[in-house]
């Protein structure tokens, strides 16, 4: 009798627990759901009367691929993609290089350099932003992708700590024996440590690829000439919501938002998986 009561008690508390989670998830997803449904509205402006669109259509997705002077979504997507690929290559190299040097190698400047990196990491890059803008303007690098790529990737070496944490767990004995066999540090780096660290390499690649897709402020600052065909997705979508344009472009903004969010969300979830794998996998090996 008592046991049955306890069981009932447990079941009901499980139900309450999951219902609370459901309510929370519901609140968290309302805006995302609204974005999704609004993008299928037949109207171009904001529907202020009902949550769901009154008339459904996919016309705004079609419009998105027929650029006009304001909305040039395919062009923006390509621009962002190019910037992201180059940024990704440079940042990944920088991060892995710094991580290997600080984790596997021992040299006198190691500790001081790491301390400086800790201090610099505490100060958000936002602060140096306007001065970076001055410098880029002097060298005519504003409104160019080269300037944007530099801003995204130049300081990326500072984000080395996660990769270093992983490299720390690669057994030292492996590196030592390779050294005794006459392996150069470069070969240990490329042929031993990198292949052993696949999860963290994938994590670094994805996270640096996502930076230009997620960023708003640097793009806004550097691409400030107002030429629509040069925008990245972030700036393009932001400009669609200008006071004069919002009534004609709001649904297109939603459609564009959905199209950008899908690949980014997928990459983001994959990245989280590899992040967990990197951390737990590393712990077992150590």
């Amino acid at each position: 009798m008592k046991i049955r009561k306890m069981k009932e008690n447990r079941t009901s508390s499980i139900i309450i627990h999951n219902v609370i989670l459901g309510i929370l998830a519901f609140i968290w997803l309302i805006p995302i759901v609204w974005l999704f449904f609004t993008s299928f509205s037949a109207e171009s402006g904001i529907n202020t009367n009902t949550f769901f669109p009154e008339k459904w259509s996919i016309s705004h997705y079609i419009k998105l691929f027929h650029p006009d002077t304001v909305a040039q979504f395919p062009q923006w997507f390509m621009n962002t993609f190019v910037v992201a690929v180059v940024t990704c290559i440079i940042s990944t190299l920088f991060v892995l290089m710094v991580a290997y040097a600080t984790s596997v190698m021992r040299f006198p400047m190691r500790k001081p350099l790491m301390n400086i990196a800790v201090i610099l990491n505490l100060f958000p890059g936002m602060l140096a932003m306007i001065a970076v803008y001055f410098v880029l303007k002097t060298f005519n690098l504003t409104n160019s992708y080269a300037g944007l790529i530099m801003v995204y990737s130049a300081s990326s070496g500072l984000g080395y700590l996660i990769a270093k944490g992983f490299f720390d767990t690669v057994p030292r004995a492996l590196c030592e024996s390779a050294r005794i066999d006459g392996c150069s540090e470069a070969r240990i780096f490329f042929q031993m440590v990198i292949p052993l660290s696949r999860p963290i390499v994938v994590y670094t690649v994805i996270s640096s690829f996502l930076v230009p897709w997620m960023d708003f402020v640097y793009a806004k600052m550097i691409l400030n000439a107002g030429i629509s065909s040069k925008y990245t997705v972030a700036i393009g979508l932001y400009k669609m919501l200008d006071k004069q344009l919002i009534n004609n472009y709001f649904t297109q903004f939603c459609a564009g938002g959905v199209l950008v969010s899908i690949p980014i969300s997928i990459l983001f979830v994959i990245m989280q998986k590899f992040y967990v794998k990197g951390i737990t996998g590393g712990a077992v090996k150590g």
Binding site: L29, T48, M97, F107, P108, F123, A131, F268, V276
Partner: protein, 486 residues
């Protein structure tokens, strides 16, 4: 994070020790080195010639020549004018030879400032190279005297993928940080002491040093027309309040959510987690711009609130001034609360991800024994989970606070173009009630070209961040508590 356990003071101490040993090494080299080592101070290649490292000698000589040529042909155009930042205005002068009016040979204040700074950095680097070079040459002398083998150039090159591989690896990343983080910060400091603004915009106008004038304006001086002092206090106050609330609400919310998700009562935990992660996987410029229209004055939420009579009710109790709409993001007070609430929506899933990683590592024997002793879940949370979380994530909490002081995206994307201030004093200095210091300085540079004030604000933000991190770091990590949870 081996550094964090040592505290800031030890870090600074270690830095000066390293600096000290560098200088003493240089001193010994100069004092005890032979004539070629001493000659290396003037001719960088001298020591290498003596030890028959000819390629290295050529490289060092070329480097020295490059520095000298740079000094004569580049730096000398700018550095001598550094004191005044230029005196010759840009003017159109009629040139009788070409029969056209042309610009005179004018001074460009900003170029002078930037390239002088650049020259200083190059010279500083050259001095380091010079000292390091002398030490290397002295090392070669010692090796020569004790009859050791001296590397050929080829052997030297091989060391860069061998025991000196770290130099190959670190050069470019460090250079990137120096050029895109350190140099800009120095430049920012310089600009804060000039009058570089819309009235003094090169190339047509000059700007010059003004001492502490900008800081005096910022702290309330500068006459009756300047309201920067008033705005600064208002914006700073909101920045701190915002950072405090934003950090703690998302931190605690994240821990609670992650405890709920990881509880054995949760069915399909992965599924729930993915639902929450999706909200942060959508780029902020999409989700925040969307939410801003969601809560707009004529937006969908306002329509619903009006239909269910909430707007009328709030009007009756005096929280809303009109009967038609709730000014979610367009009136002070309402906007402040909404921004913090929306930030919870954005920030909690992030903190949940971080907290999940930490919670998985809580020593389970502690939790088990607490349960056996009959502790209630709430007691376990307060007595075991929270102290453990605070210990592990304490430093991250401080970093989060500093990040929130500079949280540009949330404020800018939610309020830019939507929120207009009715406070004349704030409007005079281009600030609004919901601005953070960073969004204010961004607007000052991008829309009003008021670089001098923006730089001064930037430095203040910098100092605030530095003080908070140093105090908090020392406070939280004082004493060796590492063993407590191991």
């Amino acid at each position: 994070m081996e550094n964090q356990t040592k505290g800031a003071a030890a870090m600074v101490g270690g830095f000066f020790r390293a600096l000290g040993s560098f200088f003493s090494g240089f001193g010994t080299a100069v004092a005890k080195g032979d004539i070629f080592v001493k000659l290396s101070l003037l001719w960088w290649g001298a020591g290498y010639v003596r030890r028959k490292q000819y390629v290295k000698a050529v490289i060092m000589t070329a480097l020295e020549a490059a520095v000298i040529l740079f000094t004569i042909f580049f730096a000398m155009d700018y550095v001598p004018k550094f004191g005044s930042l230029g005196t010759v205005r840009a003017e159109k002068v009629f040139n009788p030879q070409t029969m056209k009016s042309e610009f005179n040979d004018y001074d460009h204040s900003f170029m002078i400032l930037l390239f002088s700074l650049f020259s200083f950095v190059v010279w500083f680097a050259a001095i380091i190279v010079l000292m390091k070079n002398t030490m290397n040459v002295y090392k070669l002398q010692l090796m020569d005297e004790s009859g050791e083998h001296i590397n050929t150039f080829k052997e030297d090159l091989v060391t860069y993928i061998g025991e000196k591989f770290h130099i190959t690896l670190l050069t470019l990343p460090v250079l990137g940080v120096v050029v895109f983080t350190l140099v800009p910060i120095l430049l920012l400091i310089f600009v804060a002491f000039t009058n570089y603004d819309q009235q003094h915009m090169p190339p047509s106008e000059l700007f010059t040093w003004v001492g502490f004038t900008n800081f005096i304006t910022l702290f309330g001086g500068g006459g009756l027309t300047a309201t920067f002092g008033y705005s600064f206090v208002r914006v700073l106050g909101w920045t701190l309040v915002w950072a405090l609330f934003a950090t703690f609400t998302t931190y605690i919310g994240g821990i609670l959510l992650s405890i709920m998700l990881n509880s054995p009562k949760t069915r399909l935990p992965k599924c729930w987690r993915t639902l929450f992660v999706v909200t942060i996987a959508v780029p902020q410029f999409v989700s925040l711009l969307l939410v801003r229209n969601f809560f707009a004055d004529s937006g969908i939420v306002n329509t619903i609130c009006k239909e269910i009579g909430l707007t009328g009710f709030l009007h009756d109790i005096g929280l809303v001034s009109t009967n038609n709409l709730i000014p979610f993001l367009s009136a002070p007070g309402w906007a402040h609360v909404m921004i913090i609430l929306i930030n919870i929506w954005i920030g909690v899933p992030y903190q949940m991800l971080i907290a999940t990683g930490v919670l998985m590592n809580i020593p389970s024997d502690q939790l088990e024994s607490a349960k056996v002793d009959g502790a209630k879940p709430f007691q376990i949370f307060v007595k075991i989970t929270m102290p453990y979380m605070l210990f592990v994530t304490g430093p991250a909490l401080v970093t989060d606070f500093v990040k929130n002081i500079n949280n540009f995206n949330v404020i800018y994307l939610l309020t830019q173009d939507v929120y207009t201030t009715t406070n004349q004093a704030l409007a005079n200095s281009q600030a609004t009630e919901v601005d953070l210091l960073v969004t204010w300085l961004f607007r000052l540079t991008q829309d009003y070209y008021n670089y001098k004030m923006a730089s001064a604000i930037g430095i203040i933000v910098f100092i605030i961040c530095a003080v908070f991190t140093l105090i908090a770091f020392n406070f939280m990590i004082k004493g060796d508590k590492e063993g407590t949870y191991q």
